[in-house]
């Protein structure tokens, strides 16, 4: 992985973090004590069974959820709430339906106090990056799921976040569209060099995209296995060697222990 020596920004430090919720059954631990660091410019996939707390960890890095213990830091400064330094791509796109694609992208650019001309130009450039310049004036309802998520990606990258969090961003898309989105995401990520944390429950997706794969246990969640992938991109499970396939089997074994498989059958 090439590292940009001039700008080592976007280091996320998860330091002794515990996250609890108060639910109907009293206090529930969503994330057990976790320490980990995301290095600047790396692409980490976080994978685990549903309800294991992977989204919770992501929400804490985004500043939506405050840890009960420990701290999360971005380049040394504690994260206390949402900020444009940490961009988020949501599974349900979270585009504003009352804005056109272009104005959705402009929404994030407002904070820079650009001239109107400049703001529109930058928003158009961001849409062009995801191949949607021709659809700038359409409303989200007029776009397909894949196109909506591309607008969301353009909107988030346009504000140049140091960290990009993606919560099962392609979970609602069909397989074909997903592959297109993978190429697109990797292309943009290489250009912008953000630190990416990509939450998924799809093992293949994690193996195709990430430098690092973190596997989480069943609830209460904790990181139980780490893989460092160095295979060239674009990857394909069929041609990127047996190693990926072996890792895939291992992860599937971790996610679905034999006992549970027997229960399911």
């Amino acid at each position: 992985m090439m590292t940009d020596a001039t700008q080592p920004k976007g280091r996320v430090e998860i330091d002794d973090v515990v996250i609890r919720f108060t639910g109907k059954q009293g206090r529930v631990t969503a994330l057990e004590r976790t320490s980990h660091a995301l290095e600047p410019g790396t692409f980490t996939a976080l994978i685990g069974p549903s309800g294991c707390g992977k989204s919770t960890l992501m929400n804490a890095i985004a500043g939506f959820v405050t840890p009960a213990e420990g701290a999360i830091r971005l380049d040394g400064r504690a994260i206390t709430g949402p900020s444009p330094e940490v961009g988020v791509i949501f599974q349900q796109y979270a585009l504003f339906p009352w804005f056109t694609a272009l104005n959705n992208v402009r929404y994030g650019l407002k904070q820079f106090g650009l001239s109107k001309r400049e703001e529109i130009d930058r928003a158009r450039a961001a849409l062009a990056e995801v191949g949607l310049e021709a659809h700038a004036d359409k409303y989200p309802q007029q776009l397909s799921g894949g196109m909506k998520q591309r607008v969301a990606i353009a909107r988030t990258f346009a504000v140049e976040p140091k960290v990009l969090l993606m919560d099962e961003p392609f979970g609602a898309l069909d397989a074909q569209t997903r592959l297109v989105m993978h190429d697109l995401l990797l292309g943009i990520w290489r250009k912008h060099k953000a630190t990416v944390l990509f939450v998924t429950h799809d093992v293949d997706e994690a193996l195709l995209l990430a430098d690092h794969v973190q596997v989480m246990s069943h609830a209460p969640g904790r990181l139980i296995r780490h893989y460092h992938l160095t295979q060239e991109r674009p990857r394909a499970l069929s041609r990127s060697g047996n190693e990926l396939l072996e890792i895939r089997d291992e992860i599937l074994g971790l996610l679905h222990p034999k006992t549970m498989l027997a229960d399911a059958l």
């Binding site: 985004a62 500043g63 979270a94 504003f96 339906p97 009352w98 659809h135 397909s144 297109v180």
Partner: protein, 275 residues
Amino acid sequence: MAVTEHPGTQNSATPRFAQLLTKGLRSGATLGLPLISFAFILGIWTLVGLSGVVKEAIFPAPWSVWSATVEMWQNGTLQTDLAKSLGRAAVGFSIGGTLGVTLGLMTGRVALVRTLLNPFLNLLRPIPAIALVPVAIVWFGIGEGSKYFVVSYTVFLTVWFNTHHGMQYVPETYLRASRTLGASRLREFLTVVLPAAAPHIFAGIRLGVALAFLSLVAAELSGASSGIGFRLQEARQYVRTDRMFSLLILLGILGALADLIVHWIGKKLVHWEQG
């Protein structure tokens, strides 16, 4: 970049025409169907009138109602009554609607205001407009003030309630997205929270329009010297059922027109909610 995904909106050239056609047919039907209903009722009404089974003084025939309308128009009372009543409804609605939206936005967003006001406002909601008329007369006399008060009170509560609830349903992901995009709270409020709550606010405004007419007549029935409600009351004293029918029908038509206008404006402003 290998982007080969087909945009879902481009291959719809043929269905486009079909869509327009069905849309045209449907709007034709929405205009035509009520007319069928009105013609049907008018037909039955005419037959009852022709048969002479019911006394004219109790249940006047359509032509009697028509000539009563013409009569009121010619002596000028109809115009003044309509102007008076519509004016009262408009003023009351504007005051009540503005207060309702403003306070709804506040109770929806500011916890302190919510704590201070919500229980009290919810207690007021079941009190019908007509029960307020005596109080309104004591406070504002039998002039315009008491009419404005009764109408704006009624409109206010409904619009407040719907606005408040609309604010509760602003999706959390919109707020989260907004904050990660670096928006100030003011911009978030104006361009995310308000539009997200707008469909509910408009539902409240539409109800408010209907209630403005209801409460207006209630206010005019006691203590007024003009207006549709007053004229209804007067018609009772002279047992002029033909005039009553005429006024009631006019009231219905006005209410329906006002509702159509508000609905149309709402559809234009909240354009993303369609379908």
